[in-house]
Symmetry: C2
Subunit: 300 residues, 2 copies
DNA sequence: CTGCTCAATACCTCCAGGGTATGATCCAGC
DNA sequence: GCTGGATCATACCCTGGAGGTATTGAGCAG
């Protein structure tokens, strides 16, 4: 059996007349007669009663008509859905993120993506930089977000944006009295650093800036992410350099202060990574959205 | 697209290797390659990633695989169901019956049919002889049951069985004192006759028997069926000749008595009727069951 | 009986599905 | 680094079957 047989059968059943059905199918009558005969023979069932006025469905034919219509509709639907999936408009996108990325850029980006591709199910996985790379290679995720990413042979990097830095200070701390803190002043206060895990990381960046400014930071704690860091600031463990977006975290007893006299390149980046050989239309769709987001962002 | 494409696609998706899939499909590798390419081209979607180790499904391919399997299963199911319908094992059988036929033969017959063809839905319609014939011609029913059926040009008749007759009498009636009633004794008592409607009917039969026995019956009432007749007997309207199976009706105040000295051929038949040109496998299945029932019945 | 309307049959053509042979890549092992 | 094996892709041929035209056969109405 063949989808053609179903199409022909439905036409004949609906027209109740081989000639008209043939016209509707843009073929001539004899081939259609033969196809119907073939179908009946293959099924071993009489589907039509031939009358001098046309073709009339048998009971078995009635049943087969329902089934045939159903199958044809499903084929239609399958092609349509597959095409949408092929255009990246349908499917599932697994995204690796890190703790504090959720604070600013990622939600906006994902919102933009959802608006463009509402039928793509986005699944977020919190994981470290190293875990993200492993997950990418194992295809458990399609894109990952992190900071300070170095390109690799098989992993591509695309910078999404940059953020400035603030210092998070306990509210009753002496430094909190000033509206702006000079970077060098940080040297006298214990500092909370993050993230733990694979180096080089933001920690090395911070230590580098201190060194450039002529001092060694007093390291109080190393913690997993900015959220934990700010929580420890609230508990009085020290001060903590955080990206601008951390101001979303309004812990009681924590204030954020801008910095002056900062070392050059006093920024952190946010980048996304993906498998270079990934041809998935979903990735393409997502990267396109990322691109639009970057240019949109720069306009502000 | 074609069911072949689906079959091939599923094979390749499952084997993840065109060569092995081709072997499984008993074709050679190049045509299979082409069919897959055609499918991809027709859908406009890349379904596989070609690797040096074989074929790997894309996300769109995964989705299409599900759909394809589903469609193939439905096609399978559709052919199977249609074949069962073509053998009369699946479908709906509309049966015309008359009031009192439900008392004996019909339930047994339908039970036998249900056992043989459990997936055929039997729908009963109570209608008169004339209505049955009209309904047969209009295809509203496939078989009808009645008594004293004459064959027609387009309607076939098949006798299912015969029944003897009893007389239903009010319990305190003088005749009720005798264990057996002589037929000629009926002449002195008002008689309830049935059925109303198309003649000739059982009424003419009864009048004929009376005439043969040398008397005119005193007609008390003409009613629709045996059930109503016996109900009127209980109410004292007279006596009523009924088929044996009417003893199923145990009205308080009604007794049944056998008859002696009866006229020749003192029997009623039960027959079924059907459209002579009906080739439906359901009818064939039913008539086969009727046949088995008749021979089974005669053995008793 | 004739003309009309169906479906079925006979016969032809040509394309597409299947076959064989070969190419293009990639990887493993010497 | 070359060679052999595995895999998919390409080139080309052949044949079955889908589709076409012409015709027959069978009911039915006038």
């Amino acid at each position: 059996m063949d989808l053609r047989h179903l199409r022909y059968f439905v036409a004949v059943a609906e027209e109740e007349n081989i000639g008209r059905a043939a016209a509707r199918l843009h073929i001539s009558q004899p081939p259609l007669t033969r196809q119907i005969q073939q179908l009946e023979e293959e099924l071993g069932v009489t589907l039509f009663i031939r009358t001098p006025r046309g073709m009339e469905l048998t009971q078995a034919g009635e049943l087969f008509l329902e089934e045939a219509r159903n199958i044809r509709a499903l084929v239609e639907q399958a092609t349509e859905r597959t095409q949408r999936a092929g255009q990246g408009k349908l499917g599932r996108l697994d995204v690796g993120i890190f703790g504090s990325a959720i604070l600013d850029a990622i939600p906006k980006l994902l919102l933009a993506f959802r608006n463009r591709y509402p039928d793509v199910k986005v699944v977020l996985h919190t994981m470290t930089k190293a875990e993200q790379i492993e997950a990418l290679r194992q295809r458990r995720i399609t894109v990952g977000f992190n900071r300070m990413l170095a390109p690799l042979d098989d992993i591509g990097v695309c910078q999404v944006g940059t953020e400035g830095l603030l210092v998070a200070i306990q509210a009753d701390h002496p430094l909190a009295r000033q509206p702006v803190v000079r970077f060098a002043e940080l040297q006298h206060h214990p500092m909370i650093l993050f993230p733990t895990g694979a180096r080089p990381s933001f920690i090395d960046r911070v230590i580098g800036w201190c060194t450039e400014s002529g001092f060694q930071p007093q390291i109080s704690q190393e913690v997993g992410d900015a959220v934990t860091g700010v929580a420890l600031v609230a508990s009085g463990f020290g001060i903590c350099l955080v990206p601008d977006s951390a101001t979303t975290l309004q812990f009681p007893g924590v204030v954020y202060r801008a910095l002056s006299d900062t070392p050059p390149n006093f920024l952190v980046d946010l980048s996304c990574i993906y498998r270079k050989d990934d041809q998935s239309p979903l990735l393409a769709a997502f990267m396109e959205t990322v691109d639009a987001f970057r240019t949109g962002d720069r306009k502000h």
